[in-house]
Every structure is written in structure tokens, then in C-alpha cells.
Amino acid sequence: MTMLLSIQNLSKAFGGLEVVRDLSFDVQEGTATALIGPNGAGKTTVFNLISGVYPVTSGRIRFRGSDIVHLPSRYRIKHGIARSFQNIRLIPRLSVIDNLLIGQHVTLKRTLDVLRPFRLVRGHEWIRAARAELSAFGLSEYADEPVDLLPYGVRKRVDLIRATLSSPSVLMLDEPAAGLNASETRELHSHLDILKGRGVTLLVIEHDMHFIRSICEKVVVLNFGSKIAEGSFEQVRRDEQVREAYLGVEQAA
């Protein structure tokens, strides 16, 4: 198995507040890794550093061996790093298909493709590709709906499909199961199984432990910006520091 993503001594400070502290962990290609920790542990900040929303304070992010900390954010998806958002951020008033077309952007071969009048072509390959991806995840009925009118669970998965259409090597999911009911969680589960089947590497922030146990081979635990444990779900669950972080020192003692 090859190393896809390697976080090395990563730190991020906002003024005097250090939200990520000397963090190191590796993500193997084709695996699913969970990033867990109490609220405010710095999980989303790690995603923001990997996707380039914030510049890093120090440390390295190696992707396929090369350091990407100086790569501008908009090029990172082209290299194969895609993400979804905690608060779903689809473009309002556009249809599901139009949102997915934006996700396809980095797969265009030429810049001038942006000016191609593809809507004049019946069943254009871009539309077909977006529709195919929707039906692969059982959502084809929503293709022409404006995204504002969709149920919450469907919007979450459209957000995922939009990221998937960029053909990413690694997909970062920020709390994908949050706010979903039991059946929506099952659908999300099979959605992620399909992605894993395709060999997409997943990096997941999640609070639902059952979900993590069934999806992720490896768990990295953060507390106050530092890594306190790393390993399989069972290893991490038995870890004393993790129990303290989640339950508080007194209960653990």
C-alpha cells in the first residue's frame, strides 16, 4: 500500500491561539481514516489546511510525496484532493445537475471548454456523466430540481457527488452523518461503500462512533489541536487519554 497523504508536524495558529499543534499522521491509499475528537479539537481546521483555505503556520502536507502547502487552494482539487462541507454548501437556485457541472470543472481538458454551448447539444456528455453519477447513487429523480427544495439528506449526498465528479484520489468528508436520520445514514453508508469500492481514499470527520467503526480502518484522535491517539477503532477505544478527553478526567479515574 502506498502513502497518499502525509501530514508532518503541522501547526496552525490564529494570532496567539494555536488550534493545530505539531500534528503528524499518514493516510494510506485506498483506506478510510477517521479524524475524531471533542468539539473545538481542530478537526475542521486540519481539513481547511489540507484544502488550502488557510495557510499553514508551520509543517508539511505531503500529497503523493510532494509538499503542497504552497499550492494555491484552487489547484489542490486538480491534484485530486476534494472535500465536502459540514454546513452543506451547494450553490442555491441552481439545479442539482448544474451544481454537479461545477464539480466536473477540473476534469475539463481545455480552458475554452467553459465557453462551449453544451446546452444546445441534446444529451451532452457532461450532462450524461453527471446524470450517470446521480443514478449510480440512486438520486436520478432529483436531477432537475433546484437544490434549495431537496431534503437535507439528499442535499448532503449531492454535495458529496459534486466533490466525487472531480475524480478525486482523496475525499475529505466533514461530518457526513450529522443531522441524518437512521435510513439516511444507511444510504450514506452504502454511498461511501461505493466510493471505497472505486478505490477513493476517505478522510472523515465524524462523531457517530458506529458509523466510524463500520467505515474506517484507522482513527486519529485530536484534542486541543494535538494528536492523542492513533490506531484501529478498538485500539483507540481502549486508550486512556481518549477516555479522558471524551469523558473528563474525574469519570475516567
Binding site: 482539487i77 486538480k78 454548501r89 442555491p92 448544474d98 470543472h105
Partner: protein
Amino acid sequence: MSGYLTGLCVLLALNTIAAYGVYLPMAAGQLNLGIAGFMAIGAYASAYLTNECGWSPIVAIGAGGGTAAILASVIAMPILRTQGIYLSLATFALGQVICAIMLNLEVVGGAAGYPVSTHIEAYVVVAVAVLVVSLVSAMSTTRVPIYLAAVKNDPLVADLLGLNVKALGVAALTAGAAIAGIGGALYAHYFNYIEAQYFGVMLSTYTVLYVLLGGTQSVLGPIVGAAIFTIVPEALRSSSQWRYAIFALFIILFMALRPQGLITRGLSRRRRQVAGQSGTAAS
């Protein structure tokens, strides 16, 4: 066609062109309140080229649009560092500065105005308006409107999905300025006289109103807005001094009843669905 009707058609064509000059940047989330400034640049540049350099009017009109576009692309970088209301203020100030410069530039007549030596016929103005509408309609079948919607609604997500947010913003502002510049140049060569005062706040404001009333969601919005704004005041002309009051009331009612504009995406989608259903029923 009577002289009156010809004049009305030219006015409608000029208003439509200006409206698309506002519409393109607005699709990218930029409320451009300085559109009259870009029209002034196009008008004065083209007039200077026909008067002093002997260029043919068509080439000069194109060059007028080009000059406005060059200015817009240069000024876009500082202007697009601002956002929302501040961006509008910046474009507003730019329009005022251009207007003030023209008012004091003796080489183009200063406050006395600038006569333009070559005349173009009404059909040229109308033909260019048709061309502009066709081009923008063609653009609406590409990825551009979806990308501009992304840049307008969520620039961070647009960036993370690989879109060049800055380039798209500059392109929208520049394309709008080019269209406005061509509109100003056509105005100069049809009426054969320009003065800086004409390209003031009122012209910018009215042009923005065409787009807002017509609706920003559909490519047809600006032309419908421009048509209403051109024809309704004419239709009210018989009621003499009351027409301004009636027109103002009309605008207020319109904004109260249909704040999203007359033509919306939902409207055109419904029409397509109805067409689709009747199509299936027929087959």
C-alpha cells in the same frame, strides 16, 4: 417607419445594450453603479477616433468598446478587492471620476459638449443590440452562467472546486464594460453630439433598474426591463405632468409585488415543463 417610432427603437436598443453591460457583472455578484462611466469612455473614445483620426464609425465604435474594456480590466484588480456595497461604491466613484474628467477635458470639448462628425443609421444601432442579445443568449448555454452563480453565491466553494474566482470576476466586469462602451459609442454616432453630464448618476441608476426589474436570474430579464422602462414612460406621455408620479408608483408597486424581477428561472422552468407535458401528450 415614422421618425418617432425609429427614435423609440433606437432608445430601446441603446437601453438594452446598457442593461446587458450591467447584467454580466451582476451575474457574478457585482452591482456596477458606474456603468455610465464606461459608456462615456466608449462614446468619447470612438468620437475622438472618427473626428480626429478619420476612422470609419464601425471600427471606431468597436475601439470604443475596447477602450472601456481595457480600462475595466486595469481597474478591476483594485475594485474587486472590495465586496458587496463597497464594490458598488467603488464603481459609483469610478463613474463619477470619469464623468468629471470628461467634463474638464478640453480636447473633447469640455463642458460645451463634443459634436460627432459621422452619423450612423438607426438600423446599425438595432443590429448591434440584436448581436449583443444573441451573444449573451449564446453565453447562457455554456458553463459561464453556472460558474458566475458559484462565484456570486459562494466564492470559497467556487475556488475549492477549482474555479478561478478572480479571473471570472475580472472577465464579467470587463465584458460588461465592453458592452457598455459599445452602447455609448453607438449613442455618440447616432445623436452626433455627446456631453459629459448625460453620462451621470441617473443613467447608471436607470440602467441598474432595468436589470433589477427585468430580473437577474434569466438572460431575458434585462431586455424585458429595458423594454418596460422605455415604453411605459412613452405610453404615459399623454398624462403630461403626472407621468413621473405614475411611473414612480409603478416602480414601487413592481418592487413590492415582484422583488425577484419579472423573469425568473422558475418561470422559464415551468414553461418548459408545460411544453414537455403537452409534447408527451401529443406523442
